[in-house]
């Protein structure tokens, strides 16, 4: 007795994903979401799942540099794209400046939503390094946090953006680099 809702045989496919600069070949069902493949096939468990319907943003990763809800995308749809997860933000034990800013400002408590906010901010600041605090607040409103009340997340991202601008300006002043175009 089989139920029509369940497939008699589970269909699988081979896909290739570019995650944090590494190529991964994965055999998976077409229905598996990107976040499930990242977490459970590639064991990159830093990206979290909070709602599976695109509201909370805990699963936010960068797909071709843009923040994306990895729960709303099938893994197969991410073939050919560059995917970045929270695991890419630090080098060994050395936290990146955005991560350090979250710690300095106490922008995390339980830490469950944090990877999503980090990747959201990473994508946003890359696109808009001159963002004002109000613009940052608008972007932070895209994701949910139940612990912090958001103030310190906004302050952390704003603090990081300001520090990057200061560093950029001083590099320009000292003419050591022309990165600040």
């Amino acid at each position: 007795m089989t139920d029509t809702t369940a497939p008699a045989q589970r269909e699988v496919q081979l896909i290739t994903l570019d995650v944090n600069g590494e190529q991964h070949e994965v055999i998976t069902e077409p229905r598996r979401t990107l976040v499930d493949v990242l977490r459970h096939e590639l064991r990159l468990t830093g990206t979290h799942v909070g709602c599976e319907h695109g509201i909370c943003g805990a699963c936010t990763v960068l797909v071709d540099d843009r923040p994306v809800r990895a729960c709303l995308m099938f893994a197969a749809q991410a073939e050919g794209a560059r995917i970045r997860t929270v695991e890419s933000l630090s080098e060994g034990d050395q936290l990146g400046d955005l991560q350090q800013a979250f710690s300095t400002h106490h922008g995390l408590q339980c830490g469950f939503c944090t990877p999503g906010f980090l990747m959201l901010a990473e994508g946003f600041l890359a696109e808009r390094p001159e963002a004002t605090k109000e613009e940052i607040r608008e972007v932070v409103a895209a994701n949910l946090c139940r612990c912090t009340g958001y103030q310190t997340i906004v302050e952390a991202i704003d603090g990081c953006a300001q520090a990057r601008r200061r560093a950029c300006a001083s590099r320009c002043d000292s003419k050591e680099s022309d990165v600040c175009s």
């Binding site: 229905r31 709602c51 933000l89 630090s90 991560q99 979250f102 339980c110 939503c113 932070v140």
Partner: protein
Amino acid sequence: MKEGKLVGRSVARREDPRLLSGRGRFVDDIALPGMLHAQFVRSTVAHGEIASVDLSAVRHVPGVVAAFTADDLELGDITAQLGRPLSEYVPTAMPVLARDKVRYVGEPVAIVVARDAYAAEDGLEAAKVSYTTLPPVTSEEAALAPGAPLVHDEAARNTLVDVSLFATDGIDEIFASAPCVVHVESRTGRQNALPLETRGVVAHWDDREEQLVVQTCTQVPHQVRTVASRSLRLDERAVRVVVPDMGGGFGQKCVVGREEIAAAAAALRLRRPVKWIEDRKDALSASFLAREQHYQVRAAFGADGRILGLDADVVCDMGAYSCYPFTAGIEPLMASAEMPGVYKVPAYRVRGRAITTNKAPTAPYRGVSRPQYVMVVERLFERAARELGLDPVEIRRRNVITDFPYTGVNHITYDPGSYLESLNLCERLVQDEGWYEKQAAAAAEGRHLGIGYACFSERTGYGSTAFAQRKMQVVPGFDISEVRMDTSGAVTVTTGTMSHGQSHETTMAQIVADELGLDIAKVRLHQGDTDRITYGWGTFASRSITVGGSAVRLAAAKLGDKLRAIAAARWGIDADEVELTDGAARRRDDTSEVLTYEDIADIAYLRAHLLPKDIEPGLAATATFDVFTDGTFSNATHGVVVELHQGTGQVEILRYVCVEDCGVAINPQVVEGQCRGGIAQGIAGALFEQVTYDDMGEPSATSFMDYKVPTAHEIPDVLIHHLETPSAFTETGAKGAGEGGTIGAPAAVLNAVNDALRPTGVELDHTPVTPETVHRALNLEAAS
């Protein structure tokens, strides 16, 4: 406490590096070889007899490995008890899987175990359960109506708890003759504590240890172990509960969940690891909810604004089952015992009830009843101020407790706090920012600005005595800590509390580092492992730093005594002549004589023959702590400025000021984080979040589309000012700080909304205050 180097400083969190780099280990991050995935067949009706459960098709779904009903697993029920007569408390059992009857939509009926979570979901689709439906009970009115259908046959009038307390002599005469009597009726919405990480568990049988290992995200690991061992009929030793990193809890995870026991049972039966991760739909509709309460309260005041009496009736809708270990008494007993709060109330009477309905069951949620009764009491003061023509802050000033210790009409003794000081300072901070002038200017433009306050205290550091007074039969309260030093001079600390975002790995380490004069990097906290920790009561009721932190400090002090004793014996001097600083024992009379902790550990472990006969080898000390008084009270005043928008009915929070006093703040940045996060959840309850049910008991909120969790758009920045009245009852002077923000926010927000509505003559006393109600109130004004 001696002058510490780290306590009182915003030391960087030990938790942060792993959480920020994606290297935390939450329960869904755990993968064990051969692991299976569970999901639950859940009731689709709110009330009914189970006619049949047919899982045969489920077992044929590709990927499904097994499926079990209650009859298959034969598990013991989860039953929480109060030691009260049947007239006051009716015990009811919560089966792990529904047996004969279902009592809410979402109740687990069967467990399906499959090779992956997708296949488990496929399996659910193939389950065939038929019910003989019964009329559901979905509201207080329906539950208490004569002849109402019974949710539990043994609970007449659908009432689980009914207590009448205090009833001060002459209270009726006081109300009859009082110059001013005000009344508030308030209903508060059913909420979800909503940790962003849903509940979940990974269980497996370990043949080598002969143990069922249950890795679960719980605030109360030892309580889960006790229930699991009883339900599965195993020796308690044969169950090990281990808690990984937790993505919040806020009370929803401080009760034992049916699913964690069922998943453990499946793992035991199949001898394979079984993982269950709750999806958001189940977390919203079938998890533990909280806060649906109905208050009818009168307060009598003298012409001078002094309160003369408080007369309260509280009904809490606890849903379908009593939670373990707290029972359905958790909300009504908290409200009944503590309602007089910060005020000198000379006469008090309360009836507190818990009713049962065909809704998802309830658990304690951050603040437990205090957000509601504080809101009601603060509304009463505002209303009395209006009637008597007094300033709303002034009427509070005339009534707050100022002489401590103060024993209230509720027989609770309040230890020293800064009730009046926080009230005055909060008012001044709002004044100094010019909000009263801005309010007047806005009014002149036809805009609606309101200013509101809430002044409250919060009992923290509940010990066994306080919980026993509630007649709980499983009585939380004490905590045990062990502090152990190894041969490298590094220290391992255990605690029975369970951090789920509160930074205990940092704050407990601060306490130990100061006590032993040790680099904090040398201190590591262990929590959430029933094999490593003798016993513990977990984290809830703002007890971790007050009780757990005290045990930690006592254990560290004991270890310090041993370090001194060994050094003193080496030097042939009295132990009092030895001090511990900078990782070493030093002679007070000759600080050039130093024995580092490595030196002492070397003697204690590797060259124990050097120890005097009266000192045992090893460097470990254990201490317990309990609170035998009424506990210690944190306090705060919140001040809020809102603007109501005429066109949309939106309540915009323009300013939020919090003056808080949690005694010695071990880590001020962490305390501020707790305040801000708590305030956000309080605002959520005041303005946004509610789970409603239709007449058939179908829950309205099954996704974040239907349950509005506030974002950075809605939650304002909060200005925090600290006062410090150290506690004499805790070993660090700290009072609890986990819940205060949530407690004060609804009252302050609601008072501000009503202040803004003053020209309309409308007063709103129910929460959440929705844009619709505000819009209607403002349009009434426009119409008139």
